[in-house]
């Protein structure tokens, strides 16, 4: 298990005032007592706005950065004291086209990054063969990376992140800027890695649909603090978010319709009228809608119901609610 407990990070920032003036020193608290746990075979989502502290947390867990306070253990190894030993258990994959040598081909890149982990030559060769095959890069080995498409580069990034066969993978926006079909492929690879290869994965993403599809548990981070953690369902119930129902109707006369609603003391401020097509749409709490028999009243007011659709809360609603 990967466990980060009470992680705090404070940066000392020098504010330059001028060539012959003393710099002003200030402190920025990027993380304030953050906890995160990841089990083998589990994908944990780390969600939050830009500047919330996601990347700082990823850097600390990957041992690229030292926290000011807190503890980090990776399969029983102290990640702060014995970080050189723990590094072989972890790797990081970022989105975008960085972290690769563009003039080298895929095999040359993987050979080099593999050599940094002192993997025996024959094992490394087999591993590269396997990765090139599962990420469908074996057909393009004659090409330097600079001639790869964005999706191919991202697949190679993931292969690079797996070169040391890490038990835990930290993914920072892995589908950033990719086409829909390529992003779907990458998500399938991630599911495969968690389910079949039992990798523990931490995923930061701005695409909440992606987190909803992949992650069993999510942590929502804001201003260096974890606001909520748990399964998406548990977060929804914790926030007592009730399902909503969307209704679409047509009407003959807007004035008569509103007059009737007014006589029945029904508020009309959430009705969205479309003048040209004589349609209107509205959204109500599902429970309230059926308790007050509101649909029946709409029909009495002269409306014709075209569509009723119940809508569950998405992860996006949960995040927005929490961040608000």
């Amino acid at each position: 298990m990967l466990s980060a407990k009470n992680i705090t990070k404070t940066y000392n920032v020098k504010n330059k005032r001028g060539l012959f003036k003393n710099n002003e020193n200030s402190q920025v608290k990027a993380l304030k007592g953050v906890n995160l746990e990841v089990q083998s075979g589990e994908i944990v989502g780390l969600l939050g706005k830009n500047g919330a502290g996601k990347t700082t947390l990823i850097k600390i867990i990957s041992m690229l950065m030292e926290p000011t306070d807190g503890s980090l253990t990776i399969d029983g190894i102290d990640g702060l004291r014995s970080y050189e030993k723990a590094k072989s258990l972890i790797n990081v994959i970022t989105g975008g086209e960085r972290n690769l040598y563009w003039r080298l081909n895929a095999v040359e890149n993987l050979e080099y990054f593999g050599s940094l982990y002192s993997i025996p030559r024959d094992i490394l060769r087999k591993r590269i063969e396997y990765l090139m095959k599962i990420f469908e890069l074996d057909k393009y080995n004659d090409l330097p990376v600079e001639r790869y498409s964005k999706g191919m580069k991202q697949r190679l990034q993931i292969a690079r992140g797996l070169i040391n066969d890490p038990k835990y993978l930290l993914l920072d926006e892995p589908t950033l800027g990719l086409d829909v079909d390529i992003a779907a492929d990458i998500r399938n690879y991630l599911k495969f890695l968690a389910e079949s290869e039992k990798k523990g994965i931490v995923l930061t993403t701005h695409y909440l649909d992606e987190a909803e599809e992949l992650c069993k548990n999510v942590s929502i981070i804001s201003d260096g603090e974890i606001l909520e953690s748990g399964s998406i369902q548990s977060l929804k119930s914790k926030l007592s978010m009730t399902p909503k129902t969307n209704i679409k109707m047509t009407y003959e006369s807007k004035d008569e319709f509103l007059k009737y609603l007014s006589s029945m003391n029904i508020q009309s401020n959430n009705l969205n009228f479309s003048q040209d097509k004589k349609t209107l749409s509205c959204k109500y709490d599902t429970d309230m809608l059926y308790k007050t028999n509101l649909i029946h009243e709409f029909i009495k007011a002269g409306a014709r119901i075209v569509d009723i659709r119940s809508e569950d809360y998405s992860l996006e609603d949960v995040v927005l609610e929490l961040l608000a």
Binding site: Y11, L64, E66, N99, E108, Y112, L116, N164
Partner: protein, 266 residues
């Protein structure tokens, strides 16, 4: 053994990433040749007008050729250090520090990648030298190999130090300017140290290139033609001290970057 494997793979990667065409190898010869011409023709008016008493023309050419060849070998190390800036921008420096590889091995691997440049330049110069003197014997070949070895080891160790400086910050260029540019003056590339004031002599003693040049010039000088053991001993002590300083600085650079998280700061 792991140290050597990491060092070799780093050198191999650097070479593949930086030397992508045969034209580059030939361009390596043009620039040193221009530098040499620049120095020679700066001196030439003084020779013909009889102002120069220190050198004969032949001695001056020997002095400048040895000075420039050795300087270029050391200068090629600066290029490998500057290249670390690219690694920082492209995020590969972060991937390197993400791994458990020995960072000192990586640093020396980078410097080692420039040895191919040194080999090529040195080989062409040696062939030219053999043609000029009109004979090739065992003694000359042995001398050339010894100089090549001293030159490679010294410049790689110097390159390791320069690469380490660039680990500290993306803005390390000014430090290289302090360490590298004055090397031309202080190491006696174009002007003999012997005629310099004492303060220049003191500064020059910290540059490994000063001692390499002194060793090479004594060895190849037709009058002395001897192995300067004293100079070799001073050079060895200086290089050992440089290796120790580099190892300490690599540790400090990693510590600094781990605190600030600035491996990919740009």
């Amino acid at each position: 053994m792991k140290f050597l494997v990491v060092m070799y793979n780093e050198a191999k990667k650097q070479h593949k990433n930086n030397y992508i065409s045969y034209e580059q190898y030939f361009s390596l010869l043009i620039w040193p040749f221009i530098l040499l011409c620049n120095s020679y023709y700066s001196y030439r008016p003084f020779i013909t007008e009889g102002f120069m008493s220190y050198f004969t023309t032949r001695e001056l050419i020997f002095f400048l050729v040895t000075g420039h060849v050795c300087y270029i070998c050391f200068w090629s190390m600066v290029e490998t250090a500057w290249d670390l800036e690219y690694e920082r921008y492209s995020g590969t420096l972060e991937v390197l520090f993400l791994s458990s590889a020995n960072k000192l091995a990586v640093i020396y691997g980078r410097a080692l990648s420039a040895v191919i440049q040194i080999c090529w330049l040195y080989m062409v110069i040696c062939i030219g030298y053999f043609l000029l003197i009109g004979e090739v014997n065992f003694s000359i070949i042995l001398q050339s190999l010894l100089v090549f070895l001293v030159l490679c080891v010294s410049s790689v160790i110097w390159g390791g130090l320069l690469n380490t400086i660039f680990l500290f910050s993306r803005d390390a260029t000014f430090l290289v300017n302090i360490l590298d540019e004055p090397m031309v003056l202080f190491s006696g590339v174009r002007v003999p140290i012997e005629i310099m004031p004492i303060w220049v002599k003191l500064i020059s003693s910290i540059y490994p290139l000063t001692h390499v040049l002194s060793f090479v010039r004594t060895l190849f000088n037709s009058q002395s033609n001897s192995l300067d053991i004293r100079q070799l001993a001073i050079l060895s002590i200086l290089l050992i001290m440089t290796v120790i300083a580099t190892a300490k600085l690599v540790g400090l650079a990693e510590r600094k970057n781990r605190l600030s998280g600035e491996f990919n700061f740009y």
